[in-house]
Symmetry: C2
Subunit: 221 residues, 2 copies
C-alpha cells in the first residue's frame, strides 16, 4: 500500500507544525517533503512547488493526489475525513469557540511574524534586527494576552484549550508558544497557556511534531 | 419575539462586512451595534466591549446571550445553526477549498492591513502615509494574485468562488476587493476576481452589506 498522505512543510514553520500535530493526533502516517524556506531563494518559490501552492507557502498536504493548503483548512479536512479522535467538539458553540481560539493565532497573531513579513520589514523599511524583535514580541504578546483571557475566563477550558482532549486550538497554540520562546518573550504572564502547553507536550503526538524532531531540522551543535 | 442576533461591527471593517454578508445570505435578521474603531481612543478598547471580546476587535456576534468572535468562526457557526442556504459545499474536498480560499484572505492578507498594524507602522516605525500605501498594496496584491491563480486554475470555480452559489469564500473576497479599491490598487490584473466580485454585487445580500449602507457610515458629502 503506497503512502497516501504527503505533507510539504518546513521544520520551523508554525503552520506546518500545526498540521503535524493534527496528523499525529489522528494517528495518520504521512510522508514528509521538506521545503527549505529562506529569503528570496527559498524552495517555496520554485516552479514545482508554486504549481502545488500558488501562495508559495507551507504547509501543503497531498491526499491521494489532491492538493490542500492553509493549515486550518487542512485540519478541518482531516477531521472530516478521519473523524476519530475529533479535533473539534460536537456542539456548534463549542466548535465556534475552538475555531475562534485557533483564529486568534492563525489570523491575527502568526501572519505578522511570518518570514516574508520580517523580510519586508528589513528590505523595504530598513528595520534592524532589534526592532524586528520588538515587533514580533509586540504582536505575539497581544495575541497571547487575548488568548489567556479567553481561556481563563471560560468554564469550557479544561486540561486543554477546550475540555480534556486536545483540539485544533491546541494544535495552533503549541507552535505559537514555540515561536514566542524563540523570540524570547517571557511566558510568565500566561499561566493558563503555559499549563495547557505543558499538558500538550506530555503527549507523544505533540512530542513527535516538534520542529527539532523533523528530518530537515539542522543537527544540534 | 425579541431580536436574537446582535452584531457588533464597524461599517468599514472587512471582517464585520464578511459576517453581514453571511447573515444576509442566510436571510437572518440582526441588530447592529456600531463600535467606532479609531486609533488609541477607539470604542473597541472600552471596558464594556473588552468584556465581550478580549481581543478588542470586531466583529462580535451575540446569539441569545452567547458571544462569538472571529469572522470565519462566526460564519461557520451560522452555517451549522442555520444550514440553508449553505455557505460551504457538502463534500470534504470542496469544503477544504472554500476554507483555504477564505483563509488566504483572512489569515495571510487582511491582518497585515488591519488598523492596529498600520497604526504601529506610523507610531513605532515612523512610516509615512505613502509608504503605508505601498505596504498595503504589496500584501493585497500578493494575496489577490494567489487567489486569482487558485480560482482560474480550478474547474470548481463557477459563477462564484466555488460553484454557482455564494460561499464563505465570496463573503471574504468581496470585502477584500473593497479594501483593495480603497487603497487604490489597480484591479485589472485580477479578471476572475473582478468577475466573481461583480456577480456577488448583483445580489441583494451583498448590496445590503456594503459599508456605505450601514447606519454608522458617515453621510456622503
Amino acid at each position: 500500500m503506497g503512502q497516501e498522505l504527503v505533507l510539504y512543510g518546513y521544520w520551523r514553520s508554525s503552520a506546518a507544525y500545526r498540521v503535524r500535530i493534527a496528523l499525529n493526533l489522528k494517528g495518520l502516517p504521512y510522508e514528509s517533503e521538506a521545503v527549505h524556506l529562506v529569503n528570496q531563494g527559498g524552495e517555496q518559490h520554485l516552479p514545482d512547488f508554486q504549481a502545488l501552492n500558488p501562495q508559495e507557502l507551507v504547509p501543503c498536504l497531498i491526499d491521494n493526489g489532491q492538493v490542500f493548503t492553509q493549515s486550518m483548512a487542512i485540519m478541518e479536512y482531516l477531521d472530516e475525513t478521519h473523524p476519530e479522535p475529533p479535533l473539534l467538539p460536537s456542539d456548534a458553540a463549542g466548535r465556534a469557540r475552538v475555531r475562534a481560539l485557533s483564529q486568534v493565532i492563525a489570523c491575527d497573531l502568526h501572519p505578522l511574524g511570518n518570514l516574508r513579513v520580517l523580510q519586508y520589514l528589513t528590505s523595504q523599511l530598513g528595520v534592524d534586527d532589534a526592532t524586528k524583535g520588538v515587533w514580533s514580541r509586540h504582536w505575539i504578546s497581544l495575541g497571547l494576552q487575548a488568548m489567556e483571557s479567553m481561556l481563563t475566563g471560560n468554564v469550557a477550558t479544561g486540561r486543554f484549550c477546550h475540555g480534556d482532549t486536545p483540539t485544533m486550538a491546541d494544535a495552533c497554540l503549541v507552535p505559537q508558544v514555540y515561536n514566542a520562546v524563540r523570540w524570547k518573550l517571557p511566558m510568565d504572564g500566561y499561566p493558563t497557556i503555559q499549563r495547557i502547553h505543558d499538558a500538550c507536550q506530555s503527549l507523544v503526538a505533540f512530542q513527535r511534531a516538534v520542529p527539532e524532531a523533523q528530518a530537515d531540522a539542522p543537527a544540534p551543535v
